[in-house]
Every structure is written in C-alpha cells, then in structure tokens.
Symmetry: C2
Subunit: 325 residues, 2 copies
C-alpha cells in the first residue's frame, strides 16, 4: 500500500464535496461547502483550494503527506489538458485551466476528471465495482451519465467525450433528447424525461392517476411516476417500462462493445429498488444473445453521492501510481 | 525502430495467409496455403507451423531474427489463455491451446488474437488507421465484424467478447440476426442479411427487378442487391438504405461510447464505394448530436484481405514491445 493521502473534490453547480482518503480508500474526513457559482470563477477557485486545505487540516495530516488532488467537474472538459471547457451549470469556469490553477494554489499535483468518470472510478475503486477490471456505470439522474473502465483504465476517447452512455441510440428516431438526438436512452430513462414522457401522454388525453397533479399545475417528478407505476397506473407503467427497456438495450449494447463483467446503476432513480432492477435484469437477458455466456452482472452503486469525491481522490491515486497527471 | 521480423498468420476456414514483416510494417514476403480444415486439427496445426517456417525461408531471414508469431483466428477464442474455443468454421480446433502449440513447434514466442481484432490492428498499424490512437473498424462481410482500438490498445473486454460491433442493437425488436438477437446491425448491414432482407420482401410480393433471379431459383447475393439499387430498383434501394442507416446508428453509438477519431469500414461490401460511403456519412451526421464536434472521420480500409496477416504480425510486434504475450 502506498503511503500518504489524496484529496478528492467533487465540484457541483451548488456544492463542493471534498474528502481526504488513503490509498485503500479509507475516508479520513469529508465535508461539503457552497460552490458559490454565482460569485464568479475566482470565488469558485478559492472555494476549491480552500476545501483542499480544509481536507488536510480536518484530516489531521501534514501537507507533505498529501500526494495528490483529484477534481471531478461537470464536463465537457479535457482531462489531458486539465481544462474545464464549457460546463452548463458552471458557466463562470468556461475555458479555465483548473488543474494547473489548483495545483499552484495548493502546491500539490492535481488531476482533473469529468464528474461521471470520477464517480465511475469511485465505484470501481471502493464501491459496487470493487474487484472488477471491466466495468460500465450508468448514472440515472436528471440525465443519464456514463463511465466505462476497461482493463482497469478509464475509457476517455479521442475527443475525451467517451462513455457518454446516455446518448446511446436505444430507439433511433424516437423521443428527442436534450442533446438534440432522437431516441437516446436519456430521453427515456432519465428522471427528467421519465416525467416529461408521462406529461406528454397525459397531454395526449391518456387517462392516468397523475392527471390530477398536472391539472393542478404541478410539474411531474420522476418519483410521482414511479409511485403511480407501483400503484398500477397504466400510463405510468408504460412510461416506466420504456425507461427500463431502453436502458436494457443500452446495457446489451455495452455487453457487445466493452464487454464488462459488471454494470453498475447509480443516481437518484435507483431509489426505485427492485422495481427498477428486476425489469432491467429481465429485459437485458431477453435482449441479449445466448450464443455466448458473457452477460454482465447488474448491480446498484453503493457509494451514493460520495462516489464523486471518493472517485476524484481515486483518480489522483491512479495518477500518482502511473505518473500520468 | 525495433530490429528483426514478425510472422503474421491469418487462419481462415479455407486458407492460411501468412507473411513476414519488419517493425515498420514492411512486408518481406507473403503467401497463402490451404488450411485443410477437413483433415483435422493436427493437419491444420502442421500447416500453420509450416507457413511460419516458410515465411522465414521465403523472407530470406534467419530464425533468430524472428521475434514473434501473431496468429489471427476465427473466434470465439481467448487471447489471454492463447486458446481457440469454438470457431464455427474451424470445428476441429475446438478448445485448442493454439498459441502454445505454435510457439513450441516454431520455437518463437506466439500471440493469438481473434481475426476481427487482428484486422483492425492491421489497419491501425499500417492502413486506414495509421496515425490515429482511437479507432473503430466495422468489417462488412458475410457478417459484420468489429474491432476497437482505444488509446492505442485493443479493447477486449472481461469475457474477451468485446467489440462485437455487428451485434449492437441498431433497431431493437427488429430483424432476427444469426446470433438470435432482434435488430442487430448485422441483420441489416451484412452481405448475407442484405440479400435475405431483399428475398423476404420479394417473398412478400413486393415488385422488384430482382424477382426474376429468385423465380429462376437463384440465391440472391449482396452484389445483386447493390446493382439493382444503383439501377433504381425501389425494393433494393429500401434494403440498401436500411443497411446504411443501421450501420450509421452503430457508428453514432460508437461515437458516444469509445469516441474514436476515425471509423474504418472494411470487408466485401465496401466494393460498393461511394454508394455506401455517401449515405453512411450523411446518416451518421444526421443522427449525431451537434452539441459537440466529436464526429469521427469515416474511411474505407486500405489493406483489403491482407489486413489479417499484417495485423497478426502487428499484434506480435505489440506483444514484443509490451512483453505481454
């Protein structure tokens, strides 16, 4: 086991989550501070550097014991250049060389990774993907995020836009996704589009127990749809079924492309529990060939919202190990 | 540049193609011999070992100058174990530890790779993928094969069934593929299924200039369909359009998964030329997001049937470089 500690920082549109971890993923301390995105780039940068310093103090270690800082940030970004490019919910950081800035402010080597990749690395290193070298993670939140680990390495791709698994065309020509494509898995299986799909069917005069909420001017939430589907509402069941089916299509696609041992499902939607897991396991079995026995296990993530900072620290440990910051 | 030579062997159901290459992919010699699959495993093995010896003699080099043998074989196989598992057109080699047998017979370190991966490595090393580190290859032959190179490494996956790109679900629930799945890209874009698709529409009483062939008892070939489509036959155009469209879906899927710089199309179908390339470039542009400018270039392979033995030799060079046989 390598000596020392790494700091993991999960930069979000609202909060910065940070922690100090040793090489075996033991969390010495963790905490959350406001990102203060509306106060501009300098403030956000100061908050990140401050969080790194606080992790050292709170963790009770010496500055010299810290071998790296890992930052998980919303993309698009360039890990190779250490550059935040144009994150939708952090507009003030457009074109910011965040890696080098934080390395300078902290005096510690720093690596920058997109938040979906960092979270996947977290589950791989310390969560539901432990012990596995080929992993695929789908994060079912407002959108559908993705992360792929292949032979123990994050798959980034030439343009560093790899593992955008939410934009696998699961139903080509189907529902329009926020990215502009038609039929992305995100357009069915994300919390946002699950609710929009239900609203659209209701607007098309389909009967549903959810209609009362819509008529009352409420914006439907994914939780409402899940609840109604569990209660047997036909419209909600149809929408939920599409979410499970198209996610399963994407899982079978990944079976044939990166051929993982395990698929980890993360994000707010996994609160649905077996109501989500059971149909996904069933559909992904039905959709996949029987020619070879290479179906991945499908499991829920175990780190919850901590995957981001844990994975960011893990990315710093990996950079330390390989020398590739 | 590394000194010495590697032997590349492309094992097929009918012939063995072999050659001797230096570290810069210069082909010192190449030739083809019958595989004699119907004469059993020992004969096929003797033919492979014989081809390796002949490559040395014909290339005019010393045994001691040869640093490796690369064998590309039909799968499924295990590169890691050096094991041919159960190839459909080489049943006699079922469960044969071919890597170690050939290493022993030749006295040269040997690596075993599936033929689709070897061909992709060939194009990557010496053909249409030269100079690119993230590549995706689709081989449009009887079936649709695939190969993926990510950051300069072959993507194999946990079960070593990665890059089975022909079985990406491009139209879930659609035409049944030879693998049993519904809606694989292979079920639309392979030479075999292109012809079957046309036959099925003709059997469903759709008019077509191809009907005369079917009525005469001929089995339709992909070439017939292409020819008829070029001549303006509506049915042939529809089938060809589906082949191009679903291949483009798979290309866009790969854009979001492994995010390659270049997509290389290989195999017999590329004889169709611009009649194939133009619609694929158009559809893959139409289907992909405009959110980011990360569309891969799409090009035809340049090595033709030599990609297999060239790539197999390249795999041996790569094993020599990394020490990972």
């Amino acid at each position: 086991m390598a000596n020392g500690y790494c700091i993991g920082v999960d930069l979000g549109g609202t909060n910065i989550k940070a922690g100090l971890l040793d090489a075996e993923a033991n969390v010495k301390c963790s905490f959350s501070v406001p990102a203060e995105v509306d106060r501009g780039a300098e403030r956000v940068i100061a908050n990140i550097a401050g969080a790194a310093r606080r992790a050292i103090t709170k963790g009770g270690v010496e500055h010299g014991e810290v071998v790296g800082v890992g930052i998980g940030s919303p993309g698009p970004l360039s890990h190779r250049k250490g550059l935040v490019i144009n994150p939708g919910n952090l507009p003030c950081l457009k074109d910011t060389p965040l890696r080098d800035i934080i390395a300078e402010r902290t005096g510690i080597r720093t690596t920058l990774e997109n938040d979906a990749n960092a979270a996947a690395w977290g589950e791989f290193w310390a969560g539901a993907g432990k012990g596995v070298s080929d992993l695929v993670m789908f994060t079912l939140g407002t959108g559908v995020g993705g992360g792929v680990i292949s032979e123990g390495r994050l798959l980034r791709g030439h343009f560093e836009n790899g593992a955008e698994l939410g934009h696998i065309l699961a139903n080509p020509g189907g529902r329009r996704c926020s990215c502009g494509q038609l039929g992305c898995v995100e357009a069915y299986s994300s919390a946002y589009f699950l609710a929009r799909h239900a609203e659209e069917l209701i607007a098309a005069s389909r009967p549903s127990s959810l209609k009362a909420r819509v008529d009352a001017g409420e914006t439907l939430m994914a939780e409402h749809v899940v609840e109604a589907a569990k209660a047997g509402d036909d419209l909600a069941r149809e929408v939920w079924d599409a979410a499970c089916y198209y996610l399963s299509v994407a899982i079978v696609v990944m079976q044939h492309v990166t051929n993982p041992q395990r698929v980890v499902l993360a994000g707010g939607m996994i609160a649905a529990g077996d109501f989500l897991l059971e149909p996904i396991r069933r559909y992904s079995r039905e959709l996949a060939w029987e020619l070879m026995d290479d179906r991945p296990e499908i499991r829920f993530a175990t780190l919850g919202n901590d995957a981001g900072f844990i994975g960011a620290a893990g990315c710093a440990w990996e950079a330390h190990r390989t020398g590739d910051w």
